[in-house]
Amino acid sequence: MTKKEVAEYGVYEVFIQKSYTDPHIHVGSLVAPTSELAMQWARENFLRRDSAVSLWVVQREHIDQTSTDFLARELDRKYREVRGYTENGRLWRMFKEKTLTIEEIVAAVEEKNRNLKSKNKK
C-alpha cells in the first residue's frame, strides 16, 4: 500500500447526548480507520470529563450541509412567536387579569406533581 492511501482515514463527526431529555449535540470531529474505532476514540477525545448517555459518530460524507441562504428568514414571522403577542398583556389588564405564560403552567403542574409524589410517600 502506498503512503497516500494510508492518509485515507475517514472523517467522523461526533455528537453527544448529555441526558435523555437533551438532543445530540455536535462537539467536533476526528479521523479514524473504521466507525468502530471512531466510536471508541470519540469517547476519550470528547468525553474524558463530561458524562453523557449516548454518542453518535457519523461519517462526514453522509452529512449534507445547507448553504447560508437556505436558512434565510428575512420577513416578519412574529405571528408564530411568543413575542408577536405582547399586546395580550395589555388586553388582559383590561379584564383585570394577567397573561399566562407557559413557564407558569409548567411550574404549576410540577408543583402539583411534587405534591402528588409527597402524598404517595406518606
Binding site: 500500500m1 492511501e5 494510508v6 485515507e8 467536533g28 476526528l30 479521523v31 474505532l37 477525545n45 474524558r48
Partner: protein, 306 residues
Amino acid sequence: MNQEEMFMKRIKQGEKIEATDWMPDEYRQLLIKLIHMHAVSEIMGAYPEKEWVPKAPSLRRKLAIMAKVQDEMGHGQLLLRIVEDLVYPLGKKREDLIEDIYYHRVKFHNVFHMEARTWADAGLIGWLVDGAAIINQAALLSTSYGPYARVLKRICAEESFHMQHGENIILTLAMGTAKQKQMLQDSLNYWWESLLFFFGPKEVTPAAERMIHYRIRTLTNEQLRQKFFDKYIPRIHSIGLTIPDPHLKYDTEKKCWVYTEPDWKKFSEIVKKNNGPKSRERIELRRQAHEGGRWVRQAMLCKPVG
C-alpha cells in the same frame, strides 16, 4: 461589492467565518500557519512533561500529570482537525501535517524545545508555561474563525484544570523543605527567559498585522506579555520567589512592566532553526511515533477478510 469586500464586511460586523465559507487565500494561509503551529505546539508540548509522568512522586500526581499530558494531545487533535479542514482544498491531510514537524516545515513554541530537568520544572511548566498559554488562548477566543473559536472555548475550559494542577505542585514545593524551595527557585531562574520568549518579539510583524486586520487575533505580542506580567508577577513574589531580572519593575506612569529584553537571536535559533537543547530529540520522538506507527495505520485500514 466583490467577494473580498463582502468578506471584510462580515469580519467587521463580528461575524464568524466557517470552514465551508468563501475566504481570501491570505486569510486561509494565515489561519493555517497560526493553527498548525498551535496544534503542533500542543503535541510537542506533551514531551517535556511526559518525561515526568513515570517519575511523578505520588499516586495522585501520577494520575494528574497523565491527565494533563493527555489533554495536550487532545488539544492537538482538536486543532489538527481545524487545520485539516483548512488544508483540505490544498490536497493536504493529517499525515502531511504531522510530517511537517520532522521535515521542519512547521514551528512550535520555544518553551517545548527546553529541557524539563527537575520535578519543579514539570510543576513550573504547568503553572507558568500553561499560564502564558492560557493568556494567549483567551485572547484568541474572539477570533473571527468560527471553528477555531469553538475549539478554543473547550481548550480554555480544560486549561483551567491545568492551572490548578500546576499551582498545586508549585504551592506544595513552596511550602516544602529548603531543598524543595531551592529547586523551585532554580526552576524559575531557568524558565524565566523562555517565558519572555513565549509571546514573541515586541515588534509587530507584517503577518501579525494582517492577522489583526482579519481579526484572527486582536492583541499584540507585547500586550499579551504585559497581561501575563500583571497576573503572574505578584503571585511569583507572593510565594517568596525572586525573578531573575534586577531591572524588572512596574512603571506607574506608563502603566506597564519594564524588563530586561531577552536575547532574541537565541529565540530565533531555537524556534526557527530547531536548535534548542531538546529540539532534535523531541522531533525525533515524534518522527518515531509517526513513522513507527505507520504499519498500524496501514493495517487498520485493510478490509477484514470474509
